[in-house]
């Protein structure tokens, strides 16, 4: 092995030793004092109880429904061992530097972790907990709710009922697109994608297609879904549902190319992350009639400014990122995130950990 290579390995080793030593120093210096954690928001009961009744940590919290301001966060996390955050906090080098070498674990109350710099965490030997599974049902449910609201024009119809546009029953008024005999294309057949497909099945969907980084036979067999290239999925789908993670590969991949291949009668649904969609391209596709309608639970940015052109379109439904919003689910997410954090503090196995 070359000298340069040796030196690099040595450097990596020394850096992680230094971090470990700093952590030990922090514990010793504070004696019997409990590890400090910072919670970036007021969180649901079930999560708060687990943290406060554990006797395992000192808790500091931004006790508000509003997100913690960046400056406040950077100030307050200096020297903490554990960080409990939401998807609204960008956990990058700046935050991790502000926390310092004492930080052992970050626990996010979300299944997405595109707001967390995995590279920076890995470099510093910090562990990451997240909340998959407990939110799958609620998210899949809302995804189907959004699809139906879009395809059956519910929000438009609600408006007509309120503003006097509702006359008498008319054969072709407010007609939408039904799922019966349709082809549904899922982008990302993960936990949520599979749960969405399972819920759509009894609506009479004729064919399920999916695109992904690779085939998922164990999942696909349950709903009889075919693994196809993205282009083919775009051409044949009547409904496209995006359920993938936001990564450098999926950033903006729902753009002009996809929309131009789609049917004019097709419906596009995104409940993954706003960054997956090129919003200008989507706007053009909707205005030009390239696709029939779109439903989004996630946008770039969030919230979407009220003067955004997408709001002017009758065939675009936008929800304020509420996919996991049931009281039960949010409490489950909070509880899991809390347990993940405590496990991380104790150097134990987490309920749900992101492998870095």
């Amino acid at each position: 092995m070359g000298t340069l290579c040796h030196l690099r390995r040595l450097k990596t080793r020394l850096v992680s030793e230094l971090h470990l030593w700093s952590k030990l120093q922090a514990t010793n210096a504070t004696g019997k004092q409990l590890p400090r954690i910072y919670v970036t928001r007021k969180i649901p009961q079930d999560g708060m109880k687990i943290l406060s009744q554990s006797g395992l940590c000192n808790i500091e919290q931004w006790d508000s429904d509003e997100p913690v301001p960046r400056q406040e966060l950077l100030k307050k996390i200096a020297g903490i061992q554990g960080l409990y955050c939401l998807l609204t906090e960008k956990i990058d080098a700046e935050v991790l530097d502000a926390a310092g070498p004492s930080l052992q674990v970050v626990s996010t109350m979300s299944v997405g972790y595109d707001h967390v710099s995995l590279e920076e965490l890995k470099k510093r030997g910090i562990r990451l907990g997240y909340t998959p599974d407990v939110l799958t049902e609620a998210v899949a449910e809302l995804t189907v709710a959004l699809l139906l609201a879009t395809s059956r024009r519910l929000l438009e119809a609600v408006d007509e009922a309120k503003n006097g546009g509702w006359g008498t029953w008319k054969p072709l008024w407010m007609c939408g697109y039904g799922l019966t005999d349709s082809t549904v294309g899922i982008l990302g057949l993960g936990r949520i994608g599979a749960a969405v497909a399972a819920r759509l099945k009894p609506f009479g969907v004729k064919r399920f297609l999916y695109a992904d980084t690779g085939p998922r036979p164990e999942v696909a067999v349950k709903i009889t879904a075919e693994f196809v290239p993205l282009d083919e999925l775009a051409r044949h789908s009547d409904f496209i549902v995006v359920c993938c993670a936001l990564t450098p590969e999926t950033q903006g991949f729902c753009g002009n190319k996809l929309f131009s291949l789609m049917k004019e009668t097709a419906i596009f649904i995104n409940t993954s992350r706003g960054g997956v969609v090129n919003q200008e391209d989507l706007y053009q596709a909707l205005v030009n009639g390239q696709i029939a309608a779109a439903g989004l639970d996630v946008t770039e940015p969030e919230p979407l400014p009220t003067d955004h052109p997408l709001f002017k379109l009758k065939n675009c439904v936008i929800l304020p990122h509420i996919a996991s919003a049931t009281v039960t689910t949010r409490n489950s997410m909070a509880a899991l995130a809390a347990s993940n954090l405590l496990a991380g503090l104790q150097g134990k196995a987490m309920g749900k950990e992101v492998l870095l």
Binding site: K42, R152, L155, A198
Partner: protein, 322 residues
């Protein structure tokens, strides 16, 4: 033979009539309903009548039609707008459109249930008016179907289709009520036949999919809502008159039930100043249950074929047994 078509109906249905060469027909070629006076005038002497649910076919209309009238074909599955007793008395046959609209209507019922339970119109309003500031753990939380009990009032074609669609959402238990148990239909969902009262008491979601009859008129009233859970959601896609709307309003404002979704009201359209329209926890749709292009086209074709069969004295694809 001559037939009257009371509205502009989808092309596919008209084409069936035109190409059959069985009758000539007069049509109220408008998207708006035929005025009563026009209906009475134009139906005179007709052998067949193709109508919509917005046309009240009562004794007056039947008298105006006279003795030629052999068949009434309605482009709907509901027949509460037809005076069935009078029609039967005169030996007139009735065609209607069950089955082909089951999928679309059940789909809309589930869409409405989800929009109501997950607060879609409310949250979309917040998005537009600046109420959406950021992701918050307990903002805009709704009620999920996971581990819930769903009560179906009227486990007919549409009721069953609704239950089938709700099943994979993790519903723990299905209850149903109606004039009598339907064990073969219920078996698919392990649904339990219970009295209306018990259904009200135990359901997290109540879905009304029965037909409107003298027995079901006003059935969902003060007493029923009082039995429901504070966290429950009430959905009606059957007919407006099954629900006592004043009682529903009271139940919603007093917090007796969590929310309601209606695709049908009394009257239709609902006047824009009706108090139900102002409630955040009430979602009202303008009777679009069967409104997909495919379904409405299919309904028009079936209604046309029913009419033609009735005119020819043949077996109808879908005849209502009187």
């Amino acid at each position: 033979m001559q037939a009257l078509v009371t509205r502009r109906i989808p092309q596919e249905g008209l084409a069936v009539l035109a190409q059959a060469g069985v009758c000539s027909f007069q049509q109220w070629d408008s998207d708006e309903p035929i005025p009563r006076s026009e209906l009475l005038a134009q139906v005179a002497g007709k052998h067949g009548l193709l109508c919509l649910l917005s046309d009240r076919i009562d004794k007056e209309v039947l008298d105006a039609a006279g003795s030629n009238l052999k068949v009434i074909s309605t482009m709907s599955v509901g027949v509460d707008h037809l005076a069935l007793e009078e029609i039967k008395k005169r030996g007139i046959r009735v065609g209607y459109t069950p089955d082909i609209l089951t999928d679309a209507t059940a789909e809309l019922a589930v869409a409405l249930l989800l929009a109501t339970s997950r607060r879609l119109p409310e949250s979309m309003e917040e998005v537009k008016n600046g109420g959406w500031t950021t992701w918050k753990p307990l903002w805009m939380c709704g009620y999920g179907l996971s581990d819930s009990t769903v009560g179906i009032i009227g486990l007919g074609r549409i009721g069953q289709a609704v239950a089938r669609r709700l099943k994979p959402f993790g519903v723990k238990k299905f209850l149903y009520t109606g004039s009598h148990p339907k064990p073969e239909s219920a078996a698919e969902f392990q649904a339990e036949f219970v009295p209306l009262t018990k259904l009200g008491e135990e359901s997290d979601f109540v879905v009304v999919t029965c037909s409107l009859t003298p027995e079901t008129k006003g059935m969902c009233n003060e007493d029923f809502f009082a039995r429901m859970k504070k966290t429950s959601v009430f959905i009606n896609t059957s007919r407006g008159a099954v629900v006592n709307q004043d009682d529903l309003y009271q139940a919603l404002v007093s917090g007796q039930i969590a929310a309601a979704g209606l695709d049908v009201t009394t009257p239709e359209p609902l006047p824009t100043d009706d108090p139900l329209l102002a409630l955040k926890n009430c979602v009202i749709l303008p009777h679009i249950g069967s409104a997909t292009y495919g379904t409405r086209n299919a309904m028009s074709v079936l209604a046309a074929n029913n009419l033609l069969a009735g005119l020819k004295g043949e077996k109808m694809p879908s005849e209502l047994q009187l």
